[in-house]
Subunit: 461 residues, 2 copies
Amino acid sequence: MPYFDAASAAPLHPVARQALLAALDEGWADPARLYREGRRARLLLDAAREAAAEAVGCRPDELVFTPSGTRALHEGIAGALAGRRRVGRHLVVSAVEHSAVLHSAEVLEAAGGTVTRVAVERTGRVGVGAYAQALRPDTALAVLQSANHEVGTEQPVAEVAEACRAVGVPLLVDAAQSLGWGPVAGDWSLLAASAHKWGGPSGVGLLAVRKGVRYAVAGPSDERESGRAPGFPNLPAVVAAAASLRAVRQEAAQEGARLRELVERVRVRVPELVPDAEVVGDPVRRLPHLVTFSCLYVDGEALLHALDQAGFSVSSGSSCTSSTLTPSHVLRAMGVLSEGNVRVSLPWGTAAEDVERFLDVLPGAVAGVREQLGVRTGVPTSASGDPAELVLDTLGKRCPIPVIELAKVIGSVEVGGVVRVLSDDSAARLDIPAWCEMCGHEYVGEEAVEGGVAYRVRRRV
Amino acid sequence: MPYFDAASAAPLHPVARQALLAALDEGWADPARLYREGRRARLLLDAAREAAAEAVGCRPDELVFTPSGTRALHEGIAGALAGRRRVGRHLVVSAVEHSAVLHSAEVLEAAGGTVTRVAVERTGRVGVGAYAQALRPDTALAVLQSANHEVGTEQPVAEVAEACRAVGVPLLVDAAQSLGWGPVAGDWSLLAASAHKWGGPSGVGLLAVRKGVRYAVAGPSDERESGRAPGFPNLPAVVAAAASLRAVRQEAAQEGARLRELVERVRVRVPELVPDAEVVGDPVRRLPHLVTFSCLYVDGEALLHALDQAGFSVSSGSSCTSSTLTPSHVLRAMGVLSEGNVRVSLPWGTAAEDVERFLDVLPGAVAGVREQLGVRTGVPTSASGDPAELVLDTLGKRCPIPVIELAKVIGSVEVGGVVRVLSDDSAARLDIPAWCEMCGHEYVGEEAVEGGVAYRVRRRV
């Protein structure tokens, strides 16, 4: 049963499992104690810290273990902001950071600070110039991911780090998606990561803070982990995290190249196999194991369910699979289609046959969902006597219905005529322009109407 | 090799180990995902929450899993304080709470709030009346441990909870030391605990917040654990924590009675076997498995080392075993001797023979340390012609040296005469009065002198 959602959580690496079992016996005691069980635990903790620091590319005393990647980000951002409070209360992030970063930014705003969210290109990549321009004399901290968790696009971390150094702003890199594949290039100041993304256990994050970076612990003081990660250390999991990081790094070059080819195959074949599908994210500067595409006229949750039924576990950034009814902020920032969105992220060791089977199954799964929704795809035929303007009321209907209804009626207006789609679904703002681009129509613009928004689309073909 | 420090961390319970192993295979995926691996993880998480809630005595939706007991306290206190910000910014704690509570109190003070630290009796028990008197109209939260982690004394939680209810103040109970033995009695509002104290794995704490308690998440928002514990859940450890809590509860009555007798034996025998030793803590209203005693004229670290050499792992609240050079705040609040302090906390299944062996070994270990320090114990003999007053300069010397020097010279003054001990060691303030009480002398008082404090002791025997 192929599991293709490594970007959420990778299955436990055999080395992690082995190390965890050994550390359950040897590392349950308090490493701060002086008796033999404590000393044994201390040795394990020190060795894990050294191994992790070597993989990160920092000194052991610059690295602490946190309970998760999310907590590493929350605490790293809070600590760096507090450490440079006197410089200012301005934070720079990219618009496509992980929610843990964006939620930390909201906390700063609620407390009276300001945040600049740097826009990204259609590939999801942030521009170095745009990022550098966002840095101000009162910027306390800049945050940038090494690679995007939803579309796999790599960010220009080394160049942004240089721009930050030039103006004395520390850069925190969220390396959650990439650390298993290799160290983060460039002269960063802080780095956060998450062990269960590389096959380590859950319950372990890493936070590195380079010597000389101003840092102030924001919460209650604690003697553990240099005061930066309070609470009794989750030692067996920490040991397993460090051991598995070392293990995946040894295979990273070879396995990365192999998965990169499998992903390339998906990138090429999906648009050939599935009508009205769009692969998103940077085609070259990307993670080796992750690819994301969107399919018009498809309900994301129904597609995930169909793929799950066929034995494939994938995730989606569509609004119709989230509880918030809003599409992924990453897809929105990129300005790409969000409906029928599928993220495939291959775990270490994924078999090529499983990827081929996925490509065999996908077209039928998409077609099945479209059939259920009553979708006719393809260019509509025009009839003479069609009106020049038509209003399509989809108020109260959710993604992908507004776009499906639009596709159904576009043929009912004359070429050059306009359909006004009334919608109160936030995904429509993203998906109607994306549909126009994919189908060759013109997106004219939007205007507020009672109960929602009218999106104007001019028929061109 | 007997390990007698269960109050720091208990060895992993076999049920915890078994559950952890099973959950490593079944519970590594994201429980928020809809595919089969996610649904399996969700089932495990839901079952663990139900089991833990049943043991705590709350509804499953009132309980979240945190990365440690420390974090449960930090976050529970911050959330309850934030939820009642409008009521006021006053916090009540006992003087003998865990450092995680006291450090949270310091954060409140640094932010402009106020804290009342309720004093305890010499047994370590807080008075219900004294606690109730500390509650004010602007009290946002009250915190009390179910039982003390250093001396085992049980607190009157049910009565204090009633006093809090009467004036509408929520009570947070730190149940870290007692939850394995049974649910917390009384009508508490919030409860925190730590799995590795009952034989669960490290990396798991519990935080229960009763419905109707005002609570506001202080940090970045997160969709996990009702927003109260951000980050990917440490699911295998959570499953193991819940399973082992259920397992230890089934044996709690029987095993508790057995360990209570072993501890009683230590309480009775230590003062018989070791000259100038004092057992501290409430003799009756106490945890079944924990006993603490202090030995005059003993360096805590040397004694721990001697016991470790003999195969026994115990801990100490003496200043000479901590990196801060201050004695345990618990012993200080109780006003009992801190030097030569030993805490024995028996894990589940401790063999009676191991406790007997400990009692065999202890007198020799204490005598050995005293010999190294050149201590003559016993009542000093008076010689005629002794002066009426003598100054003993121990500035720069650390616990237990000031008390040892005092014991050496007390016989050099006449009965009724006074020794002024000059000391800059904070343990002296606690240990010199305690020494006077144990040896039958009169503690007169202290006065500031250049470079430290002069403690005045009148010879009485």
